[in-house]
Symmetry: C2
Subunit: 385 residues, 2 copies
């Protein structure tokens, strides 16, 4: 991992505010990481960004953090890297544009393991559920993860006891790719009983990921903030067991708010651990799934990225409302400035500036001498497809 | 039970065709039972009615049937009786008008037990399910029936082994009203293992009901035909357990076609007996219910008759599309012929003739010297309410 200026800037930025930091995320998207870090450090930034960063802005642990990461075999994945899962994370940006404040894009992600995060997130299902799971729930989580991993889907979860652990183990048993997203630093050794499991995940072709820098202790609010990443990085979320008020239901709600597919597994009505799933199904917040095939059917039907990869001419199918408007406003013949695009699309300038780099990473837009335009290469692919 | 001419005519008619006999039902509604029976006996009736009655029209067992009924403590309930559940059965008429051929109104119903069928059907829930039920399913069926019976709802079911039996027993345990609808004669002693249960139902304030005359053996197609009555006579149907292709799913489908509420209980996905329920829920053919309160919530919300009885000014709320059009077309000041009503409402004459008597039984229409009109008495009730 090279200690480029961008990486140092992002290592500073990812620690300077407690996630989610929507104002900082928008500021960094607009200014770029280096200028943004400099501005934050000097306190020369908009008031809301100052609010998010005031407590920690004088603390620059970028170099020690990157060194600490290296010692535990972790790297800092940044949007400037090929590995950055720009496309899946775009849904956060879109949701925030719709007013979902907690849906801030992460500024960088710490990761440990051999898998590439962007590839793992290309065709992924999240399996989440109660910590105090029943034997039935753990069995179902394991079977689903095993079956889905066999079909080449990555299994994302939160590494908690109960359903999460069973899901990770099921995917490992199928030699599949599984990604654990933590609500603490990668060196926190949490949950204590899953340290061996997390090592296995990192060593056996999976990933352990967190937006929290080394040394960050676990906290309840961090699990909730982390849930948005589980939801965003997968095509759909399967809730296997959930009590009436649970973190898993929070992930399901977040996934729904991000426009992702939400699924829930039913169980005996006598089991309190199935109550949350039954509520989600009854309220039409989740589709009932009773088998791996059910999940494949639903994710396959509604999946955007998978479909899109099969049919390149429809790459824009999965774009959110703002991204689509920005993409449409981009000229084909001549480049445009962000301001011009904003005027034509009706999307505010800062949002346009946030969306354009994501479109570029996806090969849907490119920056030429005369400004931004739709990507030539993709247009060719589209026409030849 | 008096052996009136109507009753003798209906005892003949209910045996002369194998239910459902939609052409005969429409013919009887139009001509009245006495003239219709005479015409059928002589073969002087429309071709489709002849088709339904040809095999048995020369067989007049009306008197022996009524005597056989008396010997087993059974009565023949006919539409001319106060006890006839005209209102709930109207949904069959409406569904047939929409083209659901199997939804023929029964010509009469054999019944054994002290309850009044019309009263039992005023606030009723059907609980149905697999014969090869699991312990879980039987437990849930019993608990639901017990809890709903405690809330003064009658429990309708089909007296089969498994879920049906558990539902009847649960209602009896709560000293509630339960009604068993059979697909054979009341004297068939079927199912053999439930003869004692059926006697208990009849003796402990419930009813055992069938449209099949004494001596009719059970048959698979009769269970399916019977299912329409379970669905029609209750506000909603709860499917507790059902395999992928089962009679209980047939009842659920019928209930849906009749515009009734369909509910299903989830269970472990590993149980084949819950597969049918999960399919119904996933396909939005049924609402998931996990408790007695869930059922009350849903039946209370959508229930028509219960609501309607509380608010007499809205008696027409529960009417089907055709019945509503016929009711609206009836004048308030002067009577109209069926033909006039047909012209004004756009509903065909035979349908108008079938719907008018049902509206009369419900106190929504009356026949004066000048023809049919909206009922004065009800108008008064409506105005004073």
């Amino acid at each position: 991992m090279s200690m480029t200026d961008e990486r140092l800037a992002r290592a500073y930025l990812v620690r300077v505010a407690e996630p989610p930091a929507p104002a900082l995320a928008a500021f960094v998207a607009e200014w770029g990481p280096i200028a943004a870090a400099e501005a934050v450090r000097k306190g020369l930034c908009p008031q809301r960004v100052q609010g998010e960063t005031a407590a920690r802005r004088e603390l620059n642990l970028a170099e020690p953090d990157l060194e600490a990461g290296e010692r535990i075999g972790a790297r800092l994945i940044i949007p400037e890297d090929d590995e950055w899962p720009a496309w899946p994370l775009l849904c956060l940006d879109v949701a925030r544009g719709r007013g979902v404040q907690s849906a801030a894009v992460p500024l960088a992600l710490w990761a440990r393991g051999d898998a590439r995060l962007d590839e793992a997130a290309e065709a992924a299902v999240a399996i989440v559920g109660a910590r105090a799971a029943s034997g039935y729930g753990e069995h179902v989580a394991g079977e689903f993860a095993y079956g889905l991993a066999q079909r080449e889907l990555s299994i994302f979860s939160g590494a908690a006891y109960g359903i999460d652990g069973a899901a990770h183990r099921g995917a490992l048993a199928a030699d599949g790719v599984t990604v654990a997203l933590l609500g603490c630093g990668l060196d926190a050794g949490y949950p204590a009983g899953h340290v061996v499991l997390l090592n296995k995940i990192a060593e056996q072709g999976g990933l352990v990921v967190s937006e929290y820098p080394p040394g960050t202790p676990p906290a309840r609010h961090r699990f909730l903030v982390r849930n948005r990443l589980i939801a965003a990085l997968s095509e759909g979320t399967v809730v296997v067991e959930a009590g009436r008020r649970s973190g898993a239901r929070n992930t399901a709600t977040t996934a729904g708010a991000l426009g992702k597919i939400v699924m829930a597994v039913p169980g005996p009505i006598s089991s309190a651990m199935s109550t949350g799933c039954h509520d989600l199904i009854r309220n039409s917040a989740a589709t009932l799934v009773g088998s791996v095939d059910d999940v494949i059917d639903i994710v396959g039907k509604l999946g955007t990225r998978t479909t899109e990869r099969l049919r390149p001419r429809r790459r824009t199918d999965g774009l959110g409302a703002d991204a689509l408007r920005v993409h449409e406003a981009l000229g084909r013949g001549q480049g445009k400035s962000a301001e011009q695009v904003a005027t034509e699309s009706g999307v505010p300038v800062p949002r346009v500036r946030a969306v354009l780099p994501a479109l570029e990473l996806e090969g849907l837009a490119e920056r030429g001498e005369s400004g931004w335009q739709q990507c030539r290469a993709v247009r060719k692919t589209q026409e030849s497809a």
